[in-house]
């Protein structure tokens, strides 16, 4: 039966080429946009190298300090992470890294902008960078305030014309570092590992950051068991409750170990504080609602087109009913037909999205972007197409199936 439906669906598509073109364009365009968004999201939250431990890694990214009248929100401070996030239960490794900051170098008479990230040695153990040459700096380098740096491929190209860089020095923001390792470029959207240059945090010009609760750092926690995140979080929260702040304007500090997706959710659906949990779920729902709303307009359009074609197929409906098709069977048939249409649209959209992502990567709009389509995005695309197919197919199919067989046969003879 399905084969027969598919055969007919294909023929129906070919019969009205203009209608098919309009429908496919609408579907493909809608799905291209959705797949681009999915690809971006995937790029931000999925476990690409160097974040191969992604599934077991959580971050403490945002922190907030608040009192009765004041509130200070930002990234976590080094002081907070150093004093309260070490040796948490269920945590195998805890590393810290600053948010990448723009720094300048003067090189061959030109001002060159790079991003610089200050990290500890554990950072390199949690993240799985594939070194092109050399290796990471160590905890000992950090402890001893050594001016060493890991740079990415683009920086090696800029400063050393692509020649081996290990052992050579670069001057950044008025400080001179010896290059100890070179790693591939990491896209800017991968905020935890991203930078051009990584140096020990102890090389900072002032040590005032070591006392901050809200500052410019994130904590990266490699868990033993991601299923027991709640245990880690509760211990961290209970430690935070013990904080006695010197500043009388502030009474408490909040921060939460959570997944990148949760952090992203906090950014988009939260109030920007470090409190609470479950933002990932909220983001998930918000994205799903947004995707549905985005699909609604073309879906309504397709519903109209489909419904207006009911009379065109009245004879077929009448015949099928006369020969034993129940309304439910007919709904199945028309939904399958619509799904075929949307899946063809999805395929067109997938190819178009692939080409567009290639263009985005090549354009450099997103630094070091390696946006690509993969099975996850394909699965999303197919999932969205099925949803779209159902959205736009069920109502017309229901209308069609409800036609009285006698009326259907009469309508067709007229």
């Amino acid at each position: 039966m399905l084969k027969s439906y598919l055969k007919l669906a294909w023929k129906v598509l070919l019969r009205r080429k203009f209608f098919t073109f309009i429908s496919l364009f609408g579907i493909a365009f809608t799905l291209v946009v959705l797949m681009l968004v999915s690809a971006l999201l995937d790029h931000v939250v999925a476990g690409y190298p160097p974040e191969t431990n992604h599934a077991r890694t959580v971050g403490i990214q945002f922190a907030s300090q608040r009192g009765e009248t004041w509130r200070r929100n930002g990234f976590a401070g080094y002081g907070l992470l150093d004093k309260y996030a070490r040796d948490l239960p269920n945590v195998r490794l805890m590393g810290v890294a600053s948010m990448p900051e723009g720094v300048f170098s003067y090189f061959n008479g030109q001002r060159v902008k790079s991003f610089l990230k200050r990290t500890d040695g554990v950072f390199w153990q949690i993240l799985d960078f594939q070194f092109l040459e050399g290796g990471p700096f160590t905890e000992a380098d950090v402890r001893d305030h050594r001016f060493v740096a890991v740079i990415n491929e683009a920086t090696r190209q800029r400063f050393f014309g692509g020649q081996p860089a290990v052992g050579r020095t670069i001057e950044v923001d008025g400080q001179r570092f010896t290059v100890v390792g070179v790693v591939p470029d990491v896209p800017i959207l991968r905020i935890v590992p991203f930078s051009d240059i990584w140096v020990p945090h102890t090389t900072a010009k002032s040590d005032s950051y070591t006392k901050e609760y809200v500052g410019n750092f994130i904590g990266i926690l490699l868990l033993d068991d991601p299923g027991k995140l709640a245990m880690t979080r509760d211990e961290f929260w209970s430690r935070l409750r013990t904080i006695k702040l010197d500043d009388p304007g502030f009474q408490r500090v909040d921060a939460t170990p959570e997944t990148v997706f949760d952090t992203l959710g906090r950014l988009f659906t939260g109030d920007g504080t470090g409190e609470g949990t479950g933002y990932g779920r909220r983001l998930q729902i918000a994205l799903l609602v947004a995707a549905c709303l985005f699909m609604l307009l073309p879906a309504v359009n397709l519903i109209n087109l489909n419904t207006s074609r009911i009379m065109e197929r009245a004879s077929e409906i009448g015949v099928r009913k006369a020969f034993g098709a129940s309304s439910r069977t007919l709904v199945g048939q028309f939904v399958v037909e619509n799904l075929v249409l949307t899946l063809v649209g999805a395929l067109v959209g997938f190819v178009a999205a692939g080409l567009l992502l290639g263009l985005i990567n090549a354009s450099g709009v997103i630094q070091y972007a390696e946006l690509s389509l993969n099975y996850r995005i394909f699965a999303w695309g197919v999932g969205l197409a099925v949803l779209f197919g159902l959205l736009s197919g069920v109502y017309p199919a229901w209308r069609m199936s409800r036609m009285h067989p006698v009326q259907a046969l009469k309508g067709a003879s007229r």
Partner: protein, 223 residues
């Protein structure tokens, strides 16, 4: 045994203001393997009666029995199953699905039975052989003459081996020669397969070839 038994059939179409009586007090019994025709002027209720017999339309009153069993429920699924098993339809305008090949058209009734694709194909091919179109299986309806299209429609009607064949002016769109061919085919089905045939027609010459003529006037039987 009566294959079709109608008792006190009423069919009334109601709108807000008007009530139109399409059928009134119809009592009709058609025996197994009988070939009858229904005649009457346009609008007298012939097609409505055929639709009631074919379970395409529910009567406003009275009862219908098919193969000795009274139709107790007019639920969509119940009727669909009964139609699929017991009744084949032949229409004046053929109603072939233009996007499907001849054999795919013939297969339609079998799609709604639990049957493997190969088996379906075999039965459809046999039905087409039976109506003399074995060589046209992979043609499309538009490539066939009117008479051939009606033969395909008959093959579709008999492919599921229903006990009842309902034909609504099956020769109405055909010239007399083709009409005669279709009549011969229907008579052959009745004679060889003991199929009960009910045919609506305007053509007295063809009606006379059937075993019994039922005449309708203003929704009532007049003979």
């Amino acid at each position: 045994m009566s294959m079709i038994a109608l008792s006190g059939i009423e069919k009334v179409y109601r709108t807000d203001r008007i009530e139109t009586v399409a059928l009134s007090g119809i009592d009709l019994t058609v025996g197994e393997g009988e070939f009858i025709s229904i005649m009457g002027p346009s609008g007298c209720g012939k097609s409505t009666l055929l639709n009631v017999i074919g379970l395409l339309d529910a009567p406003s009153g009275g009862s219908v029995a098919i193969g000795g069993e009274r139709v107790a429920s007019y639920q969509d699924r119940v009727l669909a199953r009964l139609r699929n098993r017991e009744i084949g339809f032949v229409f004046q305008t053929f109603h072939l699905v233009s996007d499907l090949s001849v054999i795919d058209n013939v297969e339609i009734p079998l799609l709604y039975r639990k049957m493997a694709g190969g088996e379906r194909r075999k039965l459809a091919a046999a039905a087409l052989e039976r109506v003399g179109l074995g060589s046209r299986m992979h043609h499309f309806p538009s490539q066939l003459s009117g008479g051939q299209q009606q033969r395909v429609a008959i093959a579709r009607a008999i492919v599921g081996r229903p006990r009842i064949l309902l034909a609504d002016e099956p020769t109405g769109n055909l010239d007399s020669q083709m009409g005669d061919e279709i009549m011969a085919l229907l008579k052959d089905l009745q004679a060889r397969d003991k199929t009960t045939v009910v045919m609506v027609t305007h053509d007295a010459r063809q009606a006379e070839q059937t075993e019994r003529i039922v005449r309708l006037f203003d929704g009532r039987m007049v003979n």
